[in-house]
C-alpha cells in the first residue's frame, strides 16, 4: 500500500530506575521518616551507569554524528531516574543532554513518577505528566511532543487524555489479543481521538535483542547485525514501520558487554541502511510522515509486561490492589498539603516498581520480576511498603487532618463494610442450612427406598431360602476385601 512511501525503523528505549525502599519495621513508624535505601540505590545506579548508560550513550553519540540524520533514536527518561542521575551519576545526565543537542534524538513525556496514575484518574495523570514535561525542559532542554505511559500501559481512554494534552503520538505494546490479524508494523490511531497516533511494539524483533540475544539455545544465536538486518528486510514487504522498543539497560546490563551487545549496536545502523529499504525515524517524525492505516481499539488497558501484556504485573493480586488503593486514597490530601518533603516522598512512593515487586507471578515465572528486586518475596515487599505508607499517612494526618466530613464518611463506610460482612456471613449460613435440609430430605428418601427394598428381599427370602444364603456369603467376602490387612496385634505368622 505504501511502496512509494519510505519505510522507517523506530528505536525507542526506556530509561528508569526506582528509588528502592529501605527495610522499614513497624516500630519505625512515627519515628523514622526516611524511606530509601541510599546504599543500594547508589550502588545499583553506579553499576548500571558504568556498565550500560555511559558506554551506550557514547556509542549512540558516535553513530548519530557519523550518520548525520540517517540514524535516530527515541528515549524516555522517568522523573525518578533524572533525580537519581542528579544524585549519583550526574555525568549520565550530561551525556543525555549531549545526545539531545544533536537534534537527532527525541525524548518522550510520561508521568513523573513512573506511576500507575493513569489507572486512577485523568487529573492525577495529567498533573504528573506536566511535572515531567517541565523536568525535561529544565534538565534536557527539550519539550516532548509525544508521550509514553508507564511500562507502555495504554487504553483508548488514556490515549484520549494524551491527545487532549496535545501530544502527537504514543507508543504501546503490539499485543496479540488487541491486534488479532492486524500487524504491528503500521501506524494506528486512537479510537476516541484519531489525532493521537499509536506506534505498536514489534515484540518478536524487539525481544530478539532484549531477551534472546545471548541465549545459546536460541536458533538465532549468535545474532549479528547483518543477520538481524536480513530479518528486518524479510519483514519489509508487509511493513511501513518497525518499532523496536526495549529497556535501555539491555545494552550492557541485561545483556552484558561480553555478549557482544555493544558491537551489535555499533554495526546495527550500517547493516540496516545498507541492506534494507528502511531508515531511522523518531516517534513524532513517524506520526508526521505516515498515515494511520486504521483505528486501534483498546477498551481495557494493555502493557508490555509479562506474557499476559496486561496489568497483572502490578495489579494482579490482593496485595497489589490493596497497596495501590491505599496509596491513591491519600492522593487528594497530599495535593492539598503543599509540604515539600511530603510531596517528594509521594512521588517516589508512587513508582510502579513497588507494586511490581509484590507480584506473586514472582513464584512461577518471575525472572524479570526478580531483576534488582530488593525483596526475598512479594510478602516482604508488601509488608515493607505498607509500613512506610502507614508512616506517610501519619505524617499526612499531622499536616492535613481529615476534615469533619471526611471523618464521617470514613466512619460510615467502615460501618457499611462491617454490615456487609455480617450479611455475607448470614448468607453463607443460609445456604449451608439449605444444603443440610436438602441432604436430609435426600436421606429420608433413600431410607424409604431401602425400607421398600428390604421388605421385598424379605419376601423373596421367604420364597427362596437357598438364594439368601449365597448373597450372605458374598457380602462377607466383600467386607473382608474392604480391610486390606487386619491381624490381631502380635499374632505370629
Amino acid at each position: 500500500m505504501s511502496s512509494s512511501q519510505k519505510k522507517a525503523i523506530c528505536l525507542y528505549f526506556e530509561v528508569h530506575q526506582p528509588f528502592r525502599l529501605r527495610r522499614y519495621r513497624f516500630f519505625d513508624m512515627g519515628h523514622e521518616h526516611y524511606y530509601y535505601d541510599d546504599y543500594t540505590n547508589e550502588s545499583i545506579m553506579r553499576k548500571i551507569a558504568d556498565n550500560s548508560y555511559l558506554p551506550a550513550n557514547k556509542i549512540i553519540l558516535d553513530l548519530l554524528n557519523k550518520h548525520k540524520g540517517k540514524f535516530k533514536v527515541t528515549f524516555s527518561l522517568t522523573g525518578i531516574v533524572i533525580d537519581q542521575f542528579r544524585l549519583y551519576a550526574p555525568e549520565v545526565l550530561d551525556s543525555f543532554r549531549e545526545l539531545a543537542k544533536t537534534g537527532y534524538v527525541e525524548f518522550l513525556a510520561e508521568t513523573n513518577s513512573h506511576s500507575l496514575a493513569s489507572l486512577k484518574n485523568r487529573e492525577l495523570f495529567m498533573r504528573q505528566v506536566n511535572i515531567h514535561r517541565e523536568k525535561m525542559i529544565e534538565y534536557l532542554g527539550v519539550e516532548p511532543q509525544s508521550i509514553r505511559n508507564t511500562e507502555l500501559i495504554y487504553s483508548d481512554e488514556i490515549g484520549n487524555w494524551m491527545a487532549d494534552m496535545g501530544f502527537k503520538a504514543t507508543v504501546t505494546e503490539g499485543a496479540k489479543h488487541i491486534l488479532g490479524w492486524k500487524s504491528p508494523n503500521y501506524l494506528y490511531c486512537n479510537a476516541i481521538n484519531p489525532r493521537l497516533k499509536v506506534l505498536l511494539r514489534n515484540y518478536s524483533l524487539s525481544d530478539d535483542i532484549a531477551f534472546r540475544f545471548s541465549n545459546h539455545d536460541w536458533s538465532g544465536y549468535p545474532l549479528t547485525s547483518d543477520k538481524y538486518a536480513s530479518w528486518i528486510n524479510d519483514a519489509a514487504p508487509s511493513a511501513d514501520i518497525i518499532n523496536i522498543f526495549m529497556d535501555y539497560e539491555t545494552f550492557g546490563e541485561h545483556q552484558k558487554k561480553d555478549t557482544g551487545i555493544f558491537d551489535f549496536l555499533k554495526h546495527f545502523p550500517d547493516s540496516v541502511l545498507k541492506s534494507t529499504p528502511f531508515t531511522f525515524m523518531t516517534v513524532s517524525e513517524i506520526a508526521d510522515k505516515f498515515q494511520p492505516v486504521s483505528v486501534l481499539h483498546v477498551p481495557s488497558p494493555i502493557s508490555w509486561a509479562d506474557e499476559e501484556r496486561d496489568l497483572t504485573a502490578w495489579m494482579g493480586n490482593d496485595l497489589q490492589t490493596a497497596a495501590v488503593e491505599k496509596l491513591y486514597s491519600l492522593a487528594e490530601r497530599v495535593s492539598r498539603s503543599g509540604s515539600e518533603p511530603l510531596m517528594r516522598d509521594w512521588i517516589y512512593l508512587q513508582s510502579s516498581d513497588h507494586f511490581y515487586y509484590m507480584s506473586t507471578k514472582f513464584f512461577s515465572d518471575g525472572d524479570v520480576h526478580a531483576y534488582f528486586n530488593p525483596y526475598e518475596n512479594p510478602y516482604q515487599a508488601f509488608l515493607n511498603y505498607m509500613n512506610i505508607l502507614s508512616d506517610f499517612e501519619l505524617r499526612l494526618n499531622a499536616s492535613v487532618p481529615l476534615s469533619h466530613a471526611e471523618l464521617t464518611t470514613q466512619n460510615l463506610s467502615a460501618a457499611i463494610e462491617a454490615r456487609d460482612e455480617i450479611i455475607s456471613k448470614l448468607e453463607d449460613k443460609i445456604t449451608k442450612l439449605e444444603k443440610k435440609v436438602e441432604s436430609g430430605k435426600k436421606r429420608e428418601k433413600e431410607a424409604k427406598g431401602e425400607l421398600i427394598k428390604s421388605a421385598k428381599k424379605v419376601s423373596v427370602a421367604v420364597e427362596k431360602p437357598k438364594e439368601k444364603k449365597s448373597t450372605a456369603a458374598k457380602k462377607s467376602t466383600e467386607t473382608g476385601k474392604a480391610k486390606k490387612v487386619k491381624t490381631v496385634t502380635g499374632k505370629k505368622k
Binding site: 510478602y379 449451608k432 480391610k483 496385634t489
Partner: protein, 428 residues
C-alpha cells in the same frame, strides 16, 4: 515389596512429630501398589489404627529360647537365653559387648516377664536406654520369624533394632533421621545417643533425612557418605472436613500462637521478645504459648518481668482436638525454632487457615513458599511480620488462600514414592 519397619510410637499414642510422620509415611506406602508394611513398636496398646498396616508390639513377642541365625557372620547357630527373672545388666556398653560377642556364644541377658515377654513402656522414661537395647533383641526375634525385603528404622530409638534385624536377616537397612541429637540438645550432644545414631547411620545402606538441613548435619557432624543420604520431605494428612465452624473467641482481639514443646530447641524466648515489641505498639492483640516443657517456668518469669502477662497466656500441654481448636482461634502461628529438622505443625496451621511465620532454621522452610521466613534470632523481623499480618488484611488473606493450596500439595504418597525408590536402590 515387604517392609519391616521399626518405630517408637504409633497413633494415637504419640508424644511428638515422630509418631505422626512415621504413621503418615506408612499410610502413604500402603497406598502404593505391591507395598506391604509390618510396623513394629516397643509397646502395642491394641487400639491403634491397623487398616493399612500390620502392627506388632515388641512387648507381645516371647523371646525365650529362640534360636537365632546370624547370616552375615557365617556362624550357623547361636542362642539367646532369656531368663525369666530380672537380671539387670550393668551399662549400655556392656550390653553392646554382649550382643557383639554372640559369636562366642555368650548369653544375652534380658528382662522378661513370666510369659517370656519383655515389658516395654514405649515411653521416653528413665529406663530409655535399657528399653532400646531390649527392643533390639526382640527385633532380631521378629526378623527371624517374618519374611521381608527391606528394613526401615525411624529415629535413633529404633536404630539398634534395625541393626539387629539386619544382622540376623542380611536384608538391607534404611534408617530415617527425623531429628539428630544436635537438634534436640542445642549442641550439648549426649555421647551415648550420638554413638547410637552414628552406628545406625554407619550400618545403614541408605539414610533418609527429613530436610536438607538435617542432611547437612548427618553428612558433616556424623561423617556419613553424602551419596547414601537422601532427603525426603514430610507431608501432612489431609484434614477432615469439619473445621468450618470457627470456635467463638469471646473477645474481639487478635491471637498470635506458639504451639509446641517449650524447650530450647523450639525458641520460645524469641516469641516472647517479639510479643513484647508488638504489644508496645498494638493494644488489641493477645499471645498464647501452648505446650509444656522444661523452659516453661523460665518463660513465665520472663513474660512477667516484661510486664506483658495480662496479654500473654500459657495454656500448658494441649492434645487432640484442643490443638485444632487453638489453631482455629489463631490469627498468626509462629514457629521460632532454633533447630527444627522438619516441623509438621506449621502445615497443620496452614490447613486450619492460619498464616504462619517460621524460622529459616527449620526444614519445613525448604518446602514452603507461602510463609514468612525469618531467622529465629531476628525478633525484629518476627515482630514486624506479626504486626503486618494482623494489620493488613490483604496479606493475611493471601497467606491463607495460597498457603492452603500449597499445603494440600504436600502429600504422603509423594514422600512414599520417593522412599520406595530408595528401597529399590538398596535391593538392587
Amino acid at each position: 515389596m515387604r517392609v519391616l519397619m521399626f518405630g517408637w510410637e504409633f497413633p494415637p499414642h504419640i508424644a511428638g512429630g515422630l509418631g505422626t510422620a512415621s504413621y503418615g509415611l506408612t499410610r502413604g506406602l500402603a497406598s502404593l501398589e505391591g507395598m506391604e508394611v509390618l510396623f513394629v513398636v516397643p509397646k502395642a496398646w491394641g487400639d491403634e489404627d491397623q487398616d493399612v498396616v500390620r502392627l506388632i508390639g515388641a512387648n507381645t513377642i516371647p523371646v525365650a529360647y529362640k534360636r537365632i541365625k546370624y547370616l552375615n557372620l557365617l556362624r550357623e547357630v547361636s542362642k539367646i537365653e532369656v531368663y525369666s527373672k530380672l537380671v539387670p545388666y550393668t551399662a549400655p556398653e556392656d550390653f553392646w559387648k554382649m550382643t557383639r560377642s554372640q559369636v562366642s556364644d555368650t548369653d544375652v541377658l534380658l528382662k522378661t516377664n513370666v510369659q517370656g515377654k519383655v515389658d516395654f513402656s514405649g515411653t521416653y522414661g528413665s529406663s530409655l536406654m535399657e528399653e532400646i537395647q531390649s527392643y533390639s533383641v526382640v527385633a532380631s526375634v521378629i526378623a527371624t520369624e517374618n519374611d521381608f525385603d527391606v528394613i526401615h528404622a525411624h529415629d535413633w530409638l529404633a536404630y539398634p533394632a534395625g541393626i539387629a534385624a539386619k544382622a540376623v536377616s542380611g536384608k538391607p537397612l534404611v534408617i530415617h533421621v527425623h531429628a539428630t541429637d544436635f537438634d534436640r540438645s542445642g549442641g550439648n550432644v549426649n555421647p551415648a545417643v550420638y554413638k547410637i545414631e552414628k552406628e545406625g547411620m554407619d550400618f545403614a545402606d541408605k539414610v533418609i533425612t527429613v530436610s536438607n538441613l538435617t542432611r547437612d548435619i548427618v553428612i558433616n557432624k556424623y561423617g556419613i557418605n553424602p551419596g547414601k543420604v537422601t532427603t525426603v520431605y514430610n507431608a501432612v494428612e489431609p484434614m477432615q472436613v469439619k473445621e468450618t465452624v470457627k470456635p467463638a473467641r469471646g473477645f474481639d482481639e487478635k491471637i498470635v500462637t506458639f504451639l509446641g514443646r517449650i524447650t530450647m530447641q523450639k525458641g520460645p524466648e524469641y516469641f516472647i521478645e517479639a510479643a513484647k515489641m508488638v504489644l508496645s505498639r498494638m493494644p488489641n492483640v493477645r499471645f498464647v504459648m501452648a505446650g509444656s516443657g522444661d523452659m516453661m517456668e523460665k518463660m513465665i518469669r520472663r513474660a512477667a518481668s516484661l510486664r506483658i502477662t495480662d496479654r500473654f497466656y500459657f495454656t500448658g500441654f494441649l492434645k487432640g482436638n484442643d490443638v485444632f481448636e487453638m489453631l482455629g482461634m489463631s490469627d498468626v502461628y509462629v514457629m521460632p525454632s532454633v533447630s527444627e529438622p522438619f516441623g509438621i505443625s506449621p502445615l497443620e496451621a496452614m490447613q486450619s487457615n492460619v498464616p504462619v511465620i517460621i524460622s529459616k532454621q527449620s526444614g519445613v522452610a525448604e518446602v514452603l513458599t507461602h510463609a514468612v521466613k525469618v531467622d529465629f534470632w531476628d525478633i525484629e523481623a518476627m515482630a514486624d511480620a506479626i504486626y503486618g499480618i494482623l494489620t493488613y488484611p490483604a496479606l493475611s488473606r493471601m497467606f491463607v488462600t495460597n498457603g492452603k493450596e500449597e499445603v494440600e500439595k504436600l502429600k504422603w504418597e509423594r514422600a512414599a514414592r520417593q522412599v520406595r525408590d530408595i528401597y529399590a536402590e538398596t535391593t538392587k
